[in-house]
């Protein structure tokens, strides 16, 4: 009996028991759709986080200070120490110290209130250097960024984020206007183009001022310490070299050993990993639950196949009497089970794709469906069908034709 004939017979058997076949497939269908959607949601969330972190800049390394420990032993947590200074930033910017570091931007920031005319808005005021624009991969929406000369002169100039500008000035272009930070008036010289990232605070809601002005006016207590130093490596390939150079330079200049380092050096990649690990855990958890529903669907297929064997015992006996070998019977029932699995898988895939198209507009989360996931879904369904069919098919194949024919 040819494979085509086997497929045909299996298809006939499924078709003549439409209702039951449909219900059997439903188990697989729901399982596959659920797995696809949970995994798709998780991947979508991870992608979203990763792309937001990408917007922080490219080939980025971030140095943050270590933690403080007070005299009573209370540890302050990451970034609470004031071990990083503008001197560190200047050293890392030196090409002879770290040749693979292309640009350096030290930043400090504090939450403070900005006042323009009768409106005020509290936001993060960042003190940094002109290289910040490049290191953080930002572009100007209007106006310009401050220059090195303005930095040296500690000019009272500010560049606003898109959101900040809107909150203070509405749709109006604020370039050239005045804004008060603390009690000092600042001239707005530019507005940053929107970036749409919320990693490490809304990147569109901030006010950037020269580091010198920041130290003089905004946060006079900070001295020369900085909250973080952003490093841009010369390229993707130079990233690990830049990491080593920066790490060694800082360890040497701080005079500490690797194990007692008073700063943390993290790459963009490691930040992505940390940020996505939560959603990955959630994906695995939800995917696991969905996989259990798929397993239940598989047990449903096995159950139906067993019922089918019992119910068609005379048919099996007849087919054997007419010349079907045990192998042919085995193949027929296995084919039937895997066809149920396959059909359930295809329908589940379609439902999953429909869900992936509809869900994002309902819950505001992206759902990623990859071709790999689709192929895997079908393959898993067929495997479930075959595995679920092995036992019932084996039973059918072993039936003695006499007993099978005799049964009523």
């Amino acid at each position: 009996m040819s494979w085509l004939e086997t497929l045909h017979t299996a298809f006939d058997a499924i078709r003549t028991r439409r209702m039951r076949s449909a219900l059997t497939m439903l188990g697989i269908l729901i399982g596959i759709a659920a797995v696809m959607l949970t995994v798709g949601l998780g991947q979508g969330a991870q992608k979203q986080v990763a792309s937001q972190i990408d917007k922080l800049g490219s080939n980025l390394l971030i140095v943050t200070p270590g933690s403080t420990t007070s005299l009573t032993g209370v540890r302050g947590g990451r970034g609470s120490a004031t071990t990083l200074t503008t001197a560190d930033a200047a050293m890392l910017a030196d090409r002879s110290v770290a040749p693979d570091v292309k640009a350096v931007a030290a930043t400090s920031s504090t939450q403070t209130s900005l006042t323009a005319n009768a409106t005020n808005w509290t936001t993060s005021v960042v003190g940094t250097t002109p290289s910040w624009l490049q290191v953080r991969a930002r572009t100007m929406g209007s106006g310009r960024f401050f220059t090195a000369a303005e930095l040296a002169a500690a000019q009272p100039e500010v560049v606003l984020g898109e959101t900040t500008a809107q909150e203070l000035f509405g749709a109006r272009d604020p370039v050239g206007e005045q804004v008060t930070i603390g009690s000092q008036p600042f001239t707005i010289i530019g507005v940053l183009a929107t970036v749409g990232s919320t990693v490490g605070g809304d990147q569109d809601d901030q006010a950037v001022v020269p580091a010198t002005t920041y130290a003089n006016v905004v946060s006079p207590t900070a001295g020369t310490s900085v909250a973080s130093i952003y490093l841009e490596a010369a390229g993707q390939d130079a990233l690990s070299a830049a990491y080593q150079e920066a790490n060694n330079a800082l360890l040497t200049s701080h005079g500490v050993a690797e194990t007692a380092s008073d700063f943390t050096l993290s790459s963009q990649e490691s930040i992505v990993q940390t940020a996505t690990s939560t959603s990955r855990t959630l994906t695995v958890l939800l995917g696991g639950i969905a996989a259990i529903s798929l397993l239940v669907g598989g047990i449903g297929v096995m159950n139906i196949m067993l019922v089918s064997v019992t119910e068609r015992i005379r048919e099996i006996g007849l087919r054997k009497a007419l010349g079907a070998t045990p192998r042919v019977i085995l193949r027929q029932f296995l084919t039937e089970a895997s066809m149920l699995g396959f059909a359930g898988g295809v329908l589940g895939l379609l439902l999953g794709m429909l869900g992936a198209a509809v869900l994002p507009s309902l819950i505001g989360q992206p759902v990623t469906v990859s071709a790999v996931a689709a192929v895997a879904a079908i393959a898993i369904s067929v495997v479930i069908g075959v595995v679920a069919g092995v036992y019932p098919a084996g039973r059918a194949a072993r039936l003695s034709p006499i007993d099978a024919l005799r049964s009523e």
Binding site: K320, L322, G323, S400
Partner: protein, 261 residues
């Protein structure tokens, strides 16, 4: 194998496997049981269903095997139909020793050499008449168009040319049994084995089906019919009685060559 033109309708599917009666086996019967015994074991109990049965059936013969229930006639029918193998003795069918064959080989022998007619008809209710008839050909590996052509021819042979697309439920009992006779004929088997073929039929349909068997016999078919009804057995060319696992009239177990029907 037979000069009867009716056979031309059914070209032999596997001519090479058919034994050609050569000079060294001139009188090999279609079917020969030699001292066949069958013992069933259930736990410590051994039930002797057949005790040394010997029977030979020549080509073109029409034999009825008669016996009450519990006589071993079902066991004999299973062995004759290659659905079971004997515990002792040998069974040769069409020149092949089938008593030591494995399950898959037996399936092949059933497919090629035997056409079954069952008391319960055993038609698949979801399939049309011709799909039921073509079933043995599916396992013989024929192409679909060839199967359909032969199934339709076989149905025409049993007078159901106009019922090929009817399902069993749309046919009378007599017509259903004709469909199953067509199914038995479709592979052009060497032996037609009928197990109480009229057991489920009214008297009109019984006559109808028996007339069909007569016709097949006249066309040279070899038929073994198992029954417990005397008037059915009387239609055969000869009949043997089985009781307690043995034939009672030993003389009848050999073919009466040339005997009148």
């Amino acid at each position: 194998m037979s000069p009867d033109p009716a056979y031309a309708l059914f070209p032999d599917p596997e001519p090479a496997t058919r034994p050609v009666p050569g000079p060294d086996l001139p009188t090999e019967p279609i079917l020969r049981l030699t001292d066949v015994g069958k013992t069933y074991r259930s736990g410590a109990l051994a039930v002797e269903a057949l005790r040394g049965v010997t029977l030979s059936v020549d080509e073109g013969d029409f034999v009825a095997i008669m016996g009450p229930s519990g006589s071993g006639k079902s066991t004999l029918m299973h062995i004759l139909g290659c659905l079971d193998v004997p515990s002792t003795g040998t069974y040769r069918l069409g020149g092949e020793d089938v008593s030591t064959m494995k399950e898959s080989q037996l399936a092949d022998v059933r497919n090629r050499r035997i056409g079954f007619v069952f008391q319960q008809f055993n038609l698949l209710p979801t399939m049309s008449a011709w799909r039921n008839v073509e079933l043995p050909l599916v396992y013989a590996g024929l192409s679909r168009p060839a199967r359909k052509a032969r199934a339709v021819e076989a149905l025409a042979r049993v007078g159901l040319a106009d019922r090929i697309d009817h399902r069993p439920g749309e046919l009378s009992g007599g017509q259903q049994q004709r469909v199953s006779v067509a199914r038995a004929l479709v592979t052009d088997p060497q032996l037609i084995l009928a197990d109480e073929p009229t057991g489920n039929l009214d008297s009109v349909s019984t006559e109808d089906v028996l007339a069909l068997f007569d016709e097949l016999h006249e066309q040279g078919r070899t038929i073994v019919l198992i029954t417990h009804e005397q008037d059915v057995a009387d239609r055969a060319r000869r009949s043997v009685q089985i009781r307690d696992g043995q034939f009672i009239d030993a003389a009848a177990t050999h073919t009466r060559v040339g005997a009148a029907t």
